[in-house]
Protein backbone atom coordinates (compact mmCIF):
# COMPACT_ATOMS: atom_id res chain seq x y z
CA UNK A 1 0.00 0.00 0.00
CA UNK A 2 2.78 2.42 1.01
CA UNK A 3 4.38 1.63 -2.31
CA UNK A 4 1.50 3.40 -4.05
CA UNK A 5 0.92 6.19 -1.54
CA UNK A 6 4.44 7.60 -1.57
CA UNK A 7 4.55 8.31 -5.33
CA UNK A 8 1.05 9.74 -5.08
CA UNK A 9 2.12 12.15 -2.34
CA UNK A 10 5.25 13.09 -4.28
CA UNK A 11 3.13 13.74 -7.34
CA UNK A 12 0.72 15.91 -5.41
CA UNK A 13 3.52 17.96 -3.86
CA UNK A 14 5.06 18.49 -7.28
CA UNK A 15 1.72 19.38 -8.83
CA UNK A 16 1.15 21.83 -5.98
CA UNK A 17 4.44 23.60 -6.63
CA UNK A 18 3.83 23.71 -10.37
CA UNK A 19 0.35 25.13 -9.86
CA UNK A 20 1.84 27.78 -7.59
CA UNK A 21 4.43 28.59 -10.22
CA UNK A 22 1.76 28.97 -12.88
CA UNK A 23 -0.19 31.40 -10.75
CA UNK A 24 2.80 33.55 -9.88
CA UNK A 25 3.21 36.63 -11.99
CA UNK A 26 6.85 36.87 -13.09
CA UNK A 27 6.35 40.59 -13.69
CA UNK A 28 5.47 41.13 -10.07
CA UNK A 29 8.92 41.76 -8.73
CA UNK A 30 8.84 42.88 -5.10
CA UNK A 31 10.07 46.45 -4.89
CA UNK A 32 12.86 47.09 -2.40
CA UNK A 33 11.48 50.62 -2.07
CA UNK A 34 8.46 49.66 0.03
CA UNK A 35 8.63 51.40 3.42
CA UNK A 36 11.51 53.55 2.23
CA UNK A 37 11.48 57.25 1.50
CA UNK A 38 10.23 58.08 -1.97
CA UNK A 39 13.24 59.01 -4.12
CA UNK A 40 13.56 62.74 -4.62
CA UNK A 41 12.74 64.45 -7.87
CA UNK A 42 12.37 67.90 -9.28
CA UNK A 43 10.76 67.76 -12.69
CA UNK A 44 9.03 70.16 -15.07
CA UNK A 45 5.25 70.13 -15.04
CA UNK A 46 3.66 68.92 -18.25
CA UNK A 47 1.10 71.72 -18.50
CA UNK A 48 3.53 74.44 -17.47
CA UNK A 49 7.08 73.26 -18.24
CA UNK A 50 8.64 76.42 -16.89
CA UNK A 51 7.57 75.34 -13.41
CA UNK A 52 8.93 72.33 -11.54
CA UNK A 53 7.40 70.04 -8.97
CA UNK A 54 9.51 68.37 -6.27
CA UNK A 55 8.58 65.47 -4.09
CA UNK A 56 8.96 67.78 -1.07
CA UNK A 57 6.06 69.91 -2.39
CA UNK A 58 3.81 66.96 -1.66
CA UNK A 59 4.86 66.19 1.90
CA UNK A 60 2.09 66.21 4.48
CA UNK A 61 -0.41 64.54 2.18
CA UNK A 62 -1.14 61.07 0.93
CA UNK A 63 -0.48 60.89 -2.81
CA UNK A 64 -0.33 58.46 -5.67
CA UNK A 65 2.42 58.46 -8.22
CA UNK A 66 1.15 56.92 -11.42
CA UNK A 67 3.77 56.25 -14.09
CA UNK A 68 2.25 56.59 -17.54
CA UNK A 69 3.10 57.31 -21.14
CA UNK A 70 1.16 57.93 -24.32
CA UNK A 71 3.07 55.10 -26.03
CA UNK A 72 1.97 52.60 -23.38
CA UNK A 73 -0.92 50.38 -24.36
CA UNK A 74 -1.98 49.13 -20.95
CA UNK A 75 -2.03 52.72 -19.66
CA UNK A 76 -5.05 53.16 -21.89
CA UNK A 77 -6.76 50.23 -20.15
CA UNK A 78 -6.01 51.69 -16.78
CA UNK A 79 -6.92 55.26 -17.61
CA UNK A 80 -10.71 55.11 -17.01
CA UNK A 81 -10.03 53.62 -13.58
CA UNK A 82 -7.95 56.63 -12.64
CA UNK A 83 -10.53 58.99 -14.12
CA UNK A 84 -13.08 57.43 -11.78
CA UNK A 85 -10.77 57.60 -8.80
CA UNK A 86 -10.02 61.26 -9.51
CA UNK A 87 -13.75 62.08 -9.46
CA UNK A 88 -13.92 60.88 -5.86
CA UNK A 89 -11.36 63.55 -4.99
CA UNK A 90 -9.91 61.44 -2.20
CA UNK A 91 -6.26 61.61 -2.94
CA UNK A 92 -3.71 63.65 -4.86
CA UNK A 93 -2.78 61.85 -8.04
CA UNK A 94 0.55 62.78 -9.58
CA UNK A 95 1.28 61.51 -13.07
CA UNK A 96 4.86 60.70 -13.96
CA UNK A 97 4.91 61.02 -17.71
CA UNK A 98 7.68 58.54 -18.44
CA UNK A 99 9.93 58.83 -21.50
CA UNK A 100 7.28 60.56 -23.52
CA UNK A 101 6.91 63.53 -25.83
CA UNK A 102 5.16 66.48 -24.22
CA UNK A 103 2.91 67.07 -27.23
CA UNK A 104 1.83 63.42 -27.46
CA UNK A 105 1.23 63.31 -23.72
CA UNK A 106 -0.91 66.44 -23.78
CA UNK A 107 -2.95 65.12 -26.67
CA UNK A 108 -3.46 61.84 -24.84
CA UNK A 109 -4.83 63.62 -21.78
CA UNK A 110 -7.06 65.87 -23.90
CA UNK A 111 -8.51 62.82 -25.60
CA UNK A 112 -8.95 60.46 -22.68
CA UNK A 113 -9.44 62.87 -19.79
CA UNK A 114 -6.97 64.03 -17.19
CA UNK A 115 -7.21 62.34 -13.79
CA UNK A 116 -3.97 63.88 -12.56
CA UNK A 117 -3.76 66.82 -10.19
CA UNK A 118 -0.44 67.37 -11.85
CA UNK A 119 1.73 65.51 -14.36
CA UNK A 120 5.49 65.83 -14.42
CA UNK A 121 7.80 64.99 -17.29
CA UNK A 122 10.56 62.44 -16.96
CA UNK A 123 11.73 62.42 -20.53
CA UNK A 124 15.04 60.67 -19.91
CA UNK A 125 13.57 58.15 -17.51
CA UNK A 126 15.97 59.05 -14.69
CA UNK A 127 13.30 59.48 -12.05
CA UNK A 128 11.72 56.29 -13.33
CA UNK A 129 15.02 54.52 -12.75
CA UNK A 130 15.17 55.88 -9.20
CA UNK A 131 11.71 54.45 -8.58
CA UNK A 132 12.70 51.11 -10.07
CA UNK A 133 10.20 51.44 -12.91
CA UNK A 134 10.46 48.58 -15.40
CA UNK A 135 6.98 48.16 -16.79
CA UNK A 136 4.65 51.09 -17.36
CA UNK A 137 2.07 51.59 -15.90
CA UNK A 138 3.16 51.49 -12.30
CA UNK A 139 1.51 53.08 -9.30
CA UNK A 140 3.05 54.03 -5.97
CA UNK A 141 1.16 54.99 -2.83
CA UNK A 142 3.11 57.49 -0.74
CA UNK A 143 2.18 58.52 2.78
CA UNK A 144 2.26 61.89 4.54
CA UNK A 145 5.87 61.43 5.58
CA UNK A 146 6.93 60.74 2.02
CA UNK A 147 7.35 57.00 2.51
CA UNK A 148 6.38 54.55 -0.24
CA UNK A 149 3.81 52.21 1.29
CA UNK A 150 2.64 50.24 -1.73
CA UNK A 151 3.57 49.60 -5.31
CA UNK A 152 1.38 48.22 -8.05
CA UNK A 153 2.98 47.05 -11.27
CA UNK A 154 0.82 46.93 -14.37
CA UNK A 155 -2.62 48.39 -14.99
CA UNK A 156 -4.74 49.09 -11.92
CA UNK A 157 -8.22 47.57 -12.14
CA UNK A 158 -11.46 48.72 -10.54
CA UNK A 159 -11.11 45.78 -8.19
CA UNK A 160 -7.60 46.83 -7.18
CA UNK A 161 -8.90 50.30 -6.37
CA UNK A 162 -11.78 48.96 -4.27
CA UNK A 163 -9.89 46.26 -2.46
CA UNK A 164 -6.38 47.61 -2.10
CA UNK A 165 -5.93 51.27 -2.95
CA UNK A 166 -8.97 52.84 -1.28
CA UNK A 167 -8.61 51.02 2.07
CA UNK A 168 -4.89 51.84 2.10
CA UNK A 169 -5.47 55.50 1.23
CA UNK A 170 -8.05 55.81 4.01
CA UNK A 171 -5.71 54.15 6.45
CA UNK A 172 -2.80 56.39 5.49
CA UNK A 173 -4.95 59.51 5.66
CA UNK A 174 -5.88 58.61 9.23
CA UNK A 175 -2.20 58.40 10.18
CA UNK A 176 -0.70 61.51 11.69
Amino acid sequence: MLKYIIPLILFMVMAGFLAMGLNLNPRDIPSPLINKSAPGFSLPILATPEKVLSNTDLSGQVWLLNVWASWCGSCRTEHPVFNQLAQKNLVTIVGLNYKDEASAAKQWLAQLGNPYNVSIMDQEGRTGLDYGVYGVPETFVIDKKGIIRYKHTGPVSVKDVQEILLPLINQLKAEV
Binding site: P26, I29, P30, S31, P32, L33, K99, E124, G125, G128, L129, D130, Y131, G132, Y134, G135
Partner: protein
Protein backbone atom coordinates in the same frame (compact mmCIF):
# COMPACT_ATOMS: atom_id res chain seq x y z
CA UNK B 1 33.10 33.51 -57.83
CA UNK B 2 30.41 31.94 -55.69
CA UNK B 3 32.67 32.03 -52.65
CA UNK B 4 33.52 35.62 -53.31
CA UNK B 5 29.84 36.49 -53.52
CA UNK B 6 29.13 34.65 -50.27
CA UNK B 7 31.89 36.57 -48.60
CA UNK B 8 30.49 39.88 -49.77
CA UNK B 9 26.99 38.93 -48.69
CA UNK B 10 28.29 37.90 -45.28
CA UNK B 11 30.13 41.16 -44.87
CA UNK B 12 26.96 43.08 -45.49
CA UNK B 13 24.71 40.82 -43.46
CA UNK B 14 22.29 42.43 -41.03
CA UNK B 15 24.48 41.67 -38.06
CA UNK B 16 27.06 44.09 -39.26
CA UNK B 17 24.52 46.84 -39.15
CA UNK B 18 23.13 45.94 -35.74
CA UNK B 19 23.21 48.89 -33.39
CA UNK B 20 26.53 49.22 -31.67
CA UNK B 21 26.66 51.72 -28.89
CA UNK B 22 29.76 53.81 -29.01
CA UNK B 23 31.06 54.55 -25.58
CA UNK B 24 34.32 56.20 -24.72
CA UNK B 25 36.13 55.05 -21.61
CA UNK B 26 38.88 56.71 -19.63
CA UNK B 27 40.80 53.49 -19.11
CA UNK B 28 40.78 49.85 -20.22
CA UNK B 29 39.91 48.89 -16.62
CA UNK B 30 36.83 51.02 -16.78
CA UNK B 31 35.77 49.45 -20.06
CA UNK B 32 36.33 46.03 -18.54
CA UNK B 33 34.20 46.95 -15.51
CA UNK B 34 31.47 48.21 -17.82
CA UNK B 35 31.45 44.97 -19.81
CA UNK B 36 31.34 42.84 -16.67
CA UNK B 37 28.56 44.91 -15.12
CA UNK B 38 26.25 44.93 -18.11
CA UNK B 39 26.66 41.15 -18.34
CA UNK B 40 25.66 40.78 -14.69
CA UNK B 41 22.60 42.98 -14.67
CA UNK B 42 19.24 41.65 -15.73
CA UNK B 43 16.93 43.54 -18.02
CA UNK B 44 13.65 43.57 -16.11
CA UNK B 45 11.50 43.96 -19.20
CA UNK B 46 12.84 40.93 -21.04
CA UNK B 47 13.63 38.97 -17.96
CA UNK B 48 15.97 36.36 -19.33
CA UNK B 49 18.34 38.76 -20.95
CA UNK B 50 21.15 40.78 -19.49
CA UNK B 51 21.18 44.50 -20.17
CA UNK B 52 24.09 43.81 -22.50
CA UNK B 53 21.94 41.53 -24.65
CA UNK B 54 18.74 43.49 -24.57
CA UNK B 55 17.89 46.47 -26.66
CA UNK B 56 14.79 47.36 -24.67
CA UNK B 57 14.54 51.00 -23.67
CA UNK B 58 15.02 50.09 -20.05
CA UNK B 59 18.21 48.16 -20.82
CA UNK B 60 19.53 51.18 -22.70
CA UNK B 61 18.77 53.41 -19.72
CA UNK B 62 20.43 51.00 -17.32
CA UNK B 63 23.52 50.79 -19.53
CA UNK B 64 23.66 54.56 -19.64
CA UNK B 65 23.38 54.64 -15.85
CA UNK B 66 26.21 52.13 -15.45
CA UNK B 67 28.38 54.08 -17.86
CA UNK B 68 27.75 57.39 -16.15
CA UNK B 69 28.43 55.98 -12.71
CA UNK B 70 31.72 54.50 -13.92
CA UNK B 71 32.65 57.87 -15.37
CA UNK B 72 31.96 59.37 -11.96
CA UNK B 73 34.49 56.96 -10.53
CA UNK B 74 31.97 54.69 -8.77
CA UNK B 75 33.11 51.16 -8.01
CA UNK B 76 31.42 48.01 -9.31
CA UNK B 77 29.99 47.27 -5.87
CA UNK B 78 28.58 50.76 -5.58
CA UNK B 79 26.84 50.40 -8.93
CA UNK B 80 25.46 46.96 -8.03
CA UNK B 81 24.12 48.38 -4.75
CA UNK B 82 22.58 51.30 -6.63
CA UNK B 83 20.72 48.85 -8.87
CA UNK B 84 19.56 46.51 -6.10
CA UNK B 85 18.36 49.50 -4.05
CA UNK B 86 15.97 50.26 -6.90
CA UNK B 87 15.18 46.95 -8.51
CA UNK B 88 15.92 44.38 -5.81
CA UNK B 89 18.19 41.34 -5.96
CA UNK B 90 16.34 40.16 -9.04
CA UNK B 91 18.32 42.62 -11.13
CA UNK B 92 21.52 40.66 -10.41
CA UNK B 93 22.20 37.49 -12.35
CA UNK B 94 24.44 36.48 -9.49
CA UNK B 95 22.36 37.32 -6.43
CA UNK B 96 24.01 37.54 -3.00
CA UNK B 97 23.55 34.75 -0.49
CA UNK B 98 20.84 35.92 1.92
CA UNK B 99 17.95 34.45 3.89
CA UNK B 100 15.66 35.41 1.00
CA UNK B 101 17.83 33.89 -1.72
CA UNK B 102 18.88 30.89 0.38
CA UNK B 103 16.50 28.46 -1.32
CA UNK B 104 17.89 29.56 -4.67
CA UNK B 105 21.44 28.73 -3.67
CA UNK B 106 20.93 25.71 -1.42
CA UNK B 107 18.00 24.20 -3.33
CA UNK B 108 20.04 22.55 -6.10
CA UNK B 109 22.53 21.12 -3.58
CA UNK B 110 19.67 19.71 -1.48
CA UNK B 111 18.11 18.11 -4.54
CA UNK B 112 21.47 16.66 -5.57
CA UNK B 113 21.89 15.17 -2.09
CA UNK B 114 18.38 13.71 -2.15
CA UNK B 115 19.19 12.19 -5.53
CA UNK B 116 22.45 10.71 -4.28
CA UNK B 117 20.80 9.23 -1.18
CA UNK B 118 18.06 7.69 -3.32
CA UNK B 119 20.66 6.29 -5.70
CA UNK B 120 22.60 4.67 -2.86
CA UNK B 121 19.44 3.30 -1.18
CA UNK B 122 18.05 1.82 -4.39
CA UNK B 123 21.32 0.38 -5.65
CA UNK B 124 21.92 -1.28 -2.25
CA UNK B 125 18.48 -2.84 -2.34
CA UNK B 126 19.06 -4.19 -5.87
CA UNK B 127 22.47 -5.57 -4.89
CA UNK B 128 20.89 -7.44 -1.97
CA UNK B 129 18.37 -9.05 -4.33
CA UNK B 130 21.08 -10.10 -6.75
CA UNK B 131 23.14 -11.60 -3.93
CA UNK B 132 20.34 -13.81 -2.67
CA UNK B 133 19.56 -14.97 -6.19
CA UNK B 134 23.19 -15.83 -6.78
CA UNK B 135 23.44 -17.77 -3.56
CA UNK B 136 20.29 -19.67 -4.49
CA UNK B 137 21.97 -20.67 -7.72
CA UNK B 138 25.08 -21.51 -5.81
CA UNK B 139 23.10 -23.67 -3.43
CA UNK B 140 21.59 -25.52 -6.36
CA UNK B 141 25.03 -25.92 -7.90
CA UNK B 142 26.46 -27.19 -4.64
CA UNK B 143 23.64 -29.70 -4.32
CA UNK B 144 24.27 -30.84 -7.87
CA UNK B 145 28.01 -31.23 -7.26
CA UNK B 146 27.35 -33.12 -4.06
CA UNK B 147 24.97 -35.40 -5.89
CA UNK B 148 27.48 -35.99 -8.69
CA UNK B 149 30.22 -36.72 -6.16
CA UNK B 150 27.98 -39.11 -4.27
CA UNK B 151 27.05 -40.84 -7.53
CA UNK B 152 30.77 -41.14 -8.37
CA UNK B 153 31.54 -42.75 -5.04
CA UNK B 154 28.78 -45.24 -5.44
CA UNK B 155 29.82 -46.35 -8.91
Amino acid sequence: MKQFLTLILLAFSLNCFAAVEYKKFDSPQQEEAYKVLIEELRCLVCQNQTIADSNAELAQDLRRQVYEMLQQGKSKDEIATFMTDRYGDFVLYNPPFKAKTGVLWIGPIVFLLIGLVMLVVFSRRKKGEVNTRLSDEELAKKAKIKKLLNDGEQS
